[in-house]
Symmetry: C2
Subunit: 452 residues, 2 copies
């Protein structure tokens, strides 16, 4: 009667010792980021005012396996290896012959996959001699993960948090402060970029674009200070591959191999984390589907073109080769704050071009319905971002039922929704809406992009 | 360099199959609860309007080991066995030779140890034929745990939540609703007990005493409905012993045995959960200290007499033999909502009388300071209740340093503080105060008690 294999644990000794760098296996190499002023490739030196050289080296490396330093492993062991869980309850509810596995990244101190890279970035900065990091955060997942990581390595951190989130969602700000981080609402009076917006409107709600500009300006102008980014870049995605590498080992223990791998995708890091090791198998001939899931309100992969675009609204970053719906894009106010980014990681975008991954988009209401199904079967309440992956898992499991197929479905359960309960309240009381980008808007954005 | 034993996991196959019932090993048997009208012992029959007979049997059983039903184990496996963690970071910060272990009960879906008994109670009610449960909740930990458990077994649940918490702390209410539970502010218009208070004041802030009266009235007057309590009673404490039984196995794997076992104590269930299996060893001669930690604002064990008192303010329960500072006691507004109960579980009270456990009280500011130390060393942010245990752990670890002794300190990390971040905000911004009950107030309460 008692299921003996609901959760598959790895011992601490079994934690992966290397990250997987998918750049070594890409069918076509990644196009370089470009300097917007010259349209020439960016050189590592040009990134050195904002990133430490050891991370820039990782960003451009094509080594397949990169050793995880012992000091990083030691911190990751605070919560890793994370359990791989069989969703018996959800399977039963759906009446599916599919076997559903979810990798629970919600058990980390900040409650998501984000600290996998935050810990690594804090470490490399520490080794490089950085004393202080700056970053931006929207809803606060990344800012809290970096505060946690900087606290572990004794670095100072300043987080520029979009003011509307700072005011409306204080829990993430408090979390940062509990770990000794400093968090200010953006636009702030502390930078030139911030003051420009405050001059016209002291209550300016802010945006991720403004916050990025502030964090970069601060890093460039302050002593021993660097900037840190929580997704999109190659090294960030690589740090997340520990998720998929652990999962490979865990599935082997269970005697399973996935037919489908599913992750939600905002900037691309949690999707990459679970998917990249399996994409390697696919490149080597394995028959496996890999699905990135995004919101219909921000359909970067499903509707955006593959172009060179800025990483931020304020046009301060290099041009990145990626799927984008335009750096001027203003996302609808969906609750999955981590999926409201206009672009997609160059690596994930490249894999879509090469036909190695698929992309699907879901509207908000369906994702919250999926999250409630999950909470009422498996117990754990997922983050609104994670709900997107669950919606796709449910679709695939129902399809397996219709086809009478015993499929193995694997998903990245990227984080818990305990701090996002207000969004479930809005859903359960019928106050949420769907946002689906009209095709005309997409066409107009694409048209603007081609001019950029 | 990499620590290989930060977390000790048990496999699912190693989960304990029996609960430990300390009633079998008590030096003196527990005095019976009394009927307040007659001062005669309560019989099982008299409890049957509010509890199912299978749980009443557990309440009075003196069998040492009680089999955990497979159906209960299957649900506990959603998150159990929970990891036992070595607090290397905290040890290093304190510079102590002590080895500190914490049992992480914060990983359950509601985030605390509470579902260990909620699952068991929902199961036994289901088997008994109960269709619906009622309960009260203060800050919401228990109400959310019972909602989760009832959802797992397909029972309806109605939670009467103290109105001031219902209004000020909506996250726990939303959590209950996410699991399909119904939560109403108490006093409510749904019961006679509630209407009495609403008549005079539509905005009555409520109290745990009123909420208990409402939940019991509802259970007694509704079809197929029983009442459920989250602490204090013998069977509730027994369901929590799975914590200590797992820990015994985990410490054996680590080759350790504790010198000190520490848990915070409100009603007594999380303390009992980790402590009872080790108290058994102590009864059989083992040299081990067991410390229950409470707030100075509600010093039940450290200042309250051992008497017969009501379990609730409204005097609807039997008289229980316990340490109490009086059922009329109005607790100071400390943030550790789970530690504001006027009484203490009869089993825990009895063990204090028999000299098998010690009790210590800590003031609020010291506990939050301890919680911040923990968050900044081990990463995880503890619940304000858990902070009490941590404050005591730190004291014991510092003492070990002063004495130059290699002590093993074990604590129950009863829950995470992610929904309690507002209390950390108040602490970090200097807005919290200490509440220490003056001795005169205690004397007056004790004097009133002796008359009851």
């Amino acid at each position: 009667m008692v299921q003996g294999n609901r959760k598959i644990f790895l011992s601490e000794q079994e934690i992966p010792r290397e990250w997987y760098n998918i750049q070594a296996d890409l069918p076509k190499p990644l196009p370089p980021p470009l300097n917007p002023a010259t349209n020439e490739p960016i050189t590592p030196d040009m990134l050195s005012p904002i990133f430490p050289m050891n991370l820039i080296e990782q960003e451009v490396s094509t080594e397949r396996w990169i050793k995880i330093p012992d000091e990083v492993l030691e911190k990751l062991l605070l919560w890793r290896p994370s359990p791989l869980c069989r969703a018996y309850g959800l399977e039963k509810f759906l009446g599916t012959p599919a076997r559903i596995y979810y990798k629970n990244e919600g058990i980390s101190p900040p409650g998501s996959h984000k600290p996998n890279t935050a810990i690594a970035q804090a470490y490399y900065n520490k080794v490089f001699g950085t004393k202080r990091l700056t970053t931006e955060t929207g809803a606060g997942q990344w800012g809290s993960a970096l505060s946690f990581a900087c606290n572990q390595f004794g670095l100072e951190v300043k987080v520029y948090m979009v003011r509307v989130s700072y005011d409306q969602k204080p829990y993430r700000r408090i979390m940062m402060e509990a770990w000794g981080g400093r968090c200010v609402p953006s636009p702030s009076p502390d930078t030139h970029a911030g003051r420009v917006y405050l001059k016209d409107n002291l209550d300016h709600p802010g945006s991720l674009g403004i916050a990025i500009s502030e964090a970069i300006e601060d890093a460039v102008n302050s002593k021993n200070t660097k900037y840190s980014l929580g997704s999109v870049l190659n090294h960030v995605l690589m740090h997340q591959t520990i998720i998929g590498l652990e999962t490979e080992k865990q599935l082997k223990i269970a005697g399973e191999y996935p037919d489908v791998v599913i992750g939600c995708a905002g900037g691309g890091s949690n999707f990459a984390g679970i998917a990249f090791p399996f994409i390697r198998d696919k490149i080597h001939g394995k028959d496996i589907r890999i699905i990135a899931v995004e919101p219909t309100s921000c359909p970067t992969l499903t509707k955006g073109p593959y172009v060179y675009d800025f990483g931020d609204t304020a046009r301060t970053t290099p041009l990145l080769p990626m799927n984008s719906i335009g750096h001027q894009f203003v996302p609808a106010p969906i609750h999955a704050g981590g999926l409201r980014y206009h672009g997609m990681a160059p690596l994930v975008s490249r894999l879509l071009q090469d036909g190695l991954i698929e992309a699907k988009a879901y509207a908000q209401l369906e994702t919250f319905q999926a999250g409630i199904h999950f909470a009422r079967t498996e117990g754990f309440i997922p983050a609104p971002e994670t709900d997107h992956a669950i919606a796709c898992v449910i679709d695939e499991a129902v399809k397996a039922k219709e086809e009478g197929k015993e499929k193995v479905i694997l998903m990245n359960w990227s984080g818990h929704g305990v701090i996002d309960l207000a969004s479930y309240d809005a859903y359960l009381s019928g106050k949420l809406h769907d946002y689906i980008m009209p095709d005309e808007d997409i066409e107009q954005l694409v048209c603007e992009l081609k001019r950029c």
